[in-house]
């Protein structure tokens, strides 16, 4: 461990603002790319699921009409 205390660690020898700005924005960019990619997949699957349900409903209605 290079730092004596936790506040030493946060201050980074006076460069704390720049170091934490870098690591913070990096974490923000990485996590937002990850979350949006996962969310896209969820949304796509949901779309397909809705389409399947819709087609099933249409089919059912057609069958009922035919009877």
């Amino acid at each position: 461990m290079q730092f004596e205390s936790f506040s030493d660690f946060i201050s980074m020898g006076g460069y704390g603002f720049y170091v934490w700005l870098s690591f913070g924005s990096c974490a923000l960019v990485l996590s937002s790319v990850l979350i949006s990619s996962l969310f896209d997949g969820k949304r796509l699957k949901q779309q397909v699921r809705l389409q399947i349900e819709r087609e099933a409903r249409i089919k059912k209605a057609q069958q009922e009409q035919a009877v």
């Binding site: 870098s22 924005s25 990096c26 990485l30 796509l44 779309q47 397909v48």
Partner: protein, 245 residues
């Protein structure tokens, strides 16, 4: 000899391959990221000149390397897509571009946050910085070109051509610190000479490079899966996959 590759041109097989690879990439990324950040931030010794501000190197260098690495892979996929007309390769181009842009953005942001305390300026119109900014615009260009066309066939072709043309920027970025007088320092890690960095700092740096490379892999796989689903959403195998859960 290379015939075993053929089935992977099929969307369903490629989708399954993504699923198989994803856990490995995820584990590598998480482990390397945690180890690399803790080591880089808390255990690596401070630099004799730049003191603790140099710790930005542990994300700046990996993101910069990967911004160019991702672009190269994107361009290779684009060549494969254009020459052999393999649609999965085209989808890979579109899957890599967002994470490549993210890497470029991180390299620029962390570079600015490092430049301020060391050079006294957030931004200078220096060869290295400007060419890296152009790389960001190239990524945006590839993505917006793809989404500008209604017909995805011509969209893919246009995006691939731009991705290939943009490769000219990679040597410019790489050699910018040698060709022009610049504020930016030279390479830290070199393949053939001994590195200009001590082992106590080199190891966490290498681990962080592995973490960022793994992250690019993870996002590419997730997004490639999404692109394949989008393309194949009317096919029976996608419907089976979705209804199964």
């Amino acid at each position: 000899m290379w015939k075993w590759l053929h089935p992977y041109a099929k969307a369903e097989r490629a989708y399954q391959l993504c699923n198989t690879l994803l856990p490995y990439f995820t584990v590598i990324t998480v482990v390397c990221l945690v180890v690399g950040w803790v080591w880089g931030l808390a255990y690596a010794p401070a630099d004799y000149q730049q003191k603790d501000s140099y710790r930005i190197i542990f994300i700046h260098v990996p993101s910069a390397i990967l911004s160019m690495g991702a672009y190269s892979s994107m361009a290779i996929a684009a060549i494969i897509a254009l020459v052999w007309q393999i649609r999965n390769a085209e989808l890979a181009v579109i899957a890599i571009a967002p994470v490549g842009a993210a890497m470029t953005a991180i390299a620029l942001i962390t570079g600015a946050a490092w430049g301020k305390p060391m050079w006294g300026a957030w931004w200078v119109w220096d060869a290295r910085l400007t060419s890296e900014l152009i790389l960001l615009f190239l990524y945006f260009g590839v993505l917006s070109l793809y989404h500008a066309f209604e017909d995805k066939k011509s969209a893919g072709r246009a995006a691939c051509i731009l991705a290939i043309v943009g490769v000219i920027n990679l040597p410019i970025i790489h050699f910018s610190v040698e060709w022009w007088n610049t504020l930016h320092q030279g390479a830290t890690i070199t393949k053939f000479d001994t590195s200009a960095i001590d082992a106590s700092m080199l190891w966490p740096l290498l681990i962080n490079i592995a973490a960022f490379a793994g992250f690019v892999g993870v996002i590419t796989l997730i997004r490639l899966k999404n692109e394949i689903l989008q393309c194949e959403k009317h096919r029976p195998w996608v419907r089976d996959l979705v209804s199964r859960g």
